[in-house]
């Protein structure tokens, strides 16, 4: 028996390592696909599903005026869960960065009573109680104590099944929002008209906001936002539509701090570029550096996650790419066409700013008259009533 001990231990250890490695492969290449692709529960179209059923109650603001509003509403959220919410909603826990900004643009800042550390825009949100670093692991006790009428979160929270279930059991409705913009399928094979008519991030967020109105009202604010953002959206679409195929240039997208890890997002096409990773089947593959060098992208766009929006972080990110030995001979580095975009400028209400940055970086001649930073300040001024110091795209 003693003779068998070592081989048995070794086999157990080996099998454990094999399982770990397999799990690693799974996590690396499958688990970080957009939630809509990995979970059967997630349905990106579900956010646009209208109210399934409502019951009504009579609310009398004054004895003279009688207005009927639903006492509760049942909807299907972005993860495909059916959620029943008591109306009117007066206390909101908003745990996702993009959702917080959407709600603030809809004029609901004063109803938000809980956020996460990662939610830092607009700055007025910083005075709201934080219930954790992110919405994957919120402090359940603190949330229950705050007793919100509804929790708006990203698709991260349902992955933490224990916390999600505890909150549901506490009687708090959770509305999962998938803010990831659906991508055009095979844009390289699309006709110009098909590409023109495919939704951009701004189309998506306007649609998302309209769905929110069933729960929180404020349709007028949504209209106001769409009226402001859509002309910019159309401007980019129109100018890209006029572009000939030979004017499209190659673009390499990369996660800053994770060299050569890219995205197979096709929205590069909508900004007049060609993603060098467009033919990859994984959503966020780790590309071979030699492939990147051989593709010789004309533009590199780095994604950064910035909660402080400190310009020094953006400058450091750009210098990091420019100083890489391997990239010295590619056009993007030789011509200094390396740009840094904050993730928050690609999702949610600020996505019009990100869209303009991309278009200007990829097709500078077409968008010489556009200043995305100025549009960003215009957005801040119009919807938050103030200018905000902070960088979202650089340079």
């Amino acid at each position: 028996m003693k003779k068998l001990t070592m081989p048995i231990i070794a086999i157990i250890l080996s099998v454990a390592l094999l399982v770990s490695a397999s799990a690693g492969v799974y996590m690396l290449y499958f688990s970080d696909k957009p939630s809509s692709e990995i979970s059967p529960k997630i349905d990106t179209t579900a956010t646009s599903v209208p109210t399934l059923s409502t019951s009504t109650a009579t609310v009398s603001p004054t004895p003279e005026v009688v207005q009927e509003v639903p006492a509760n509403i049942t909807v299907v959220d972005g993860a495909g869960y059916t959620v029943t919410i008591s109306l009117p909603v007066k206390r909101i826990a908003a745990l996702d960065t993009a959702v917080v900004e959407i709600l603030c643009v809809m004029g609901l800042r004063d109803l938000i009573i809980a956020r996460c550390d990662s939610c830092t825009m607009p700055p007025s949100i910083l005075s709201v109680t934080s219930v954790g670093s992110n919405d994957y692991e919120p402090n359940v006790e603190a949330l229950i104590e705050l007793n919100p009428d509804i929790i708006f979160c990203s698709s991260m929270l349902p992955y933490n099944e224990a916390s999600y279930q505890q909150l549901i059991n506490a009687g708090i409705p959770i509305y999962v929002v998938d803010t990831t913009t659906p991508e055009p399928v095979n844009p390289s094979k699309m006709t110009k008209d098909e590409l023109y008519n495919s939704p951009t991030p701004i189309d998506f967020v306007c649609n998302l906001m309209r769905n929110f109105t069933a729960i929180v009202g404020h349709q007028d604010k949504v209209n106001e936002y769409a009226t402001w953002a859509q002309p910019y959206n159309k401007l980019v679409k129109d100018r890209i539509y006029a572009l000939s195929p030979d004017q499209q240039i190659t673009v390499f997208l990369e996660w800053y701090s994770y060299p050569y890890r890219t995205f197979v997002t096709q929205s590069v096409y909508q900004a007049g570029g060609i993603n060098i990773a467009e033919n990859q089947t994984l959503y966020s593959p780790l590309l071979s550096p030699e492939f990147v060098v051989e593709q010789n992208p004309s533009v590199i766009i780095e994604y950064i996650l910035s909660t402080t929006h400190d310009i020094n972080d953006f400058i450091a990110a750009k210098n990091d790419v420019l100083s890489r030995n391997v990239l010295q001979n590619i056009d993007a580095v030789k011509n200094g066409r390396v740009y840094i975009i904050d993730w928050s400028a690609r999702d949610g209400v600020r996505s019009i700013v990100g869209y303009l940055y991309w278009a200007k970086w990829i097709q500078p001649n077409l968008f010489a008259d556009i200043d995305p930073a100025a549009v960003n300040q215009e957005f801040n001024q119009k919807f938050y009533g103030t200018t905000i110091d902070g960088t979202f795209g650089y340079p």
Partner: protein, 358 residues
Amino acid sequence: MTTTTADLKKLYNKDRKKKILVIFSIFLALITTALISLSLGAASPRIGEAITVIFYKWFPFLHIDPPSSLAITIIWTIRLPRIVMALIAGAGLAAAGATMQGILRNPLVSSYVLGISSAAGFGAALAIVLGVSVAALSGYLVVGNAFIFCLLAMVIVYMIARVRGMSSESVILAGVAVGFLFSALISLIQYISPTSNAVQAIVFWLMGGLHTATWQNILLCFPLVAVAVILMVLQAWNINVMSMGEEVAVSLGVNSKRVLAINMVLETTVTAGIIAFTGIIGFVDLIAPHIARMFIGNDYRYLIPCSALMGAFMLLAADTVGRLIMMPTEIPVGIVTSLLGVPFFIYLLVRKRRRSFN
């Protein structure tokens, strides 16, 4: 029938020749793998261009027509440093693993068990989070910190073990404890990290990999690893004696505590010198010595070089497969090493029925 000295000598020479043949075979496999690795990749340059680039760079007096700048970048800046780093890292880690498994008479000893990997991870994480910015990744702040914390872990393990009489058990237990401590500190630092980019950078570093290899890194890493591995080979007799047990070692006049301390320093230096540049690469230092042992037995004069070659072969083969199997997407080397190495190891374990360790 009595066995004469001449018979024993003949038997010894035969066994010696067999071991040298095994080592030579692994060396040939390694060279073949290196050539394949040099020839293939996501970019177009193949073996002909690769050899031209190498001759152009190494023998400028031959006045070879300059290859394209693309070929130079692909071969000289990306592919070749990566191959060389795989050879150095694999050899160093496996030699260190073999040495410590022998000294501590424990087949499960690796840089993980001795707490060195976790300490390196913590050092790197600390540098990433507290560094001036994540751009420090491009400098040597992370590398230096990882290296220093490896040495610090070794000092802590040594001091704890010394209190308990410097036995192999006390070294292993102290190593496990220190490893858990640094693992907890890594988790803590990730948890309280102020930026998502820093967390991302820590995860990336902990996964390890060879694509960060540069000639500058190799120039810093190679002398350290080469000297330490040579010193390990010079310690082979002492390790042979130590692997028979502390009592035998003492009876043969070997100062076991001193040998243990020397080899701890050598093993830590090699491991720290490698993983500070590559990030954590596990498994090679654990498995490569076992595979080598199955081929040539427990004589550390042959086992250390054989393990080094086997480690280099394993890591290079794994990295090459990781580069090629889904081109141009890469699979990190740590994942491939386990996926390929584990079935091979189990096969050898089942096929070779005799116990290979001791």
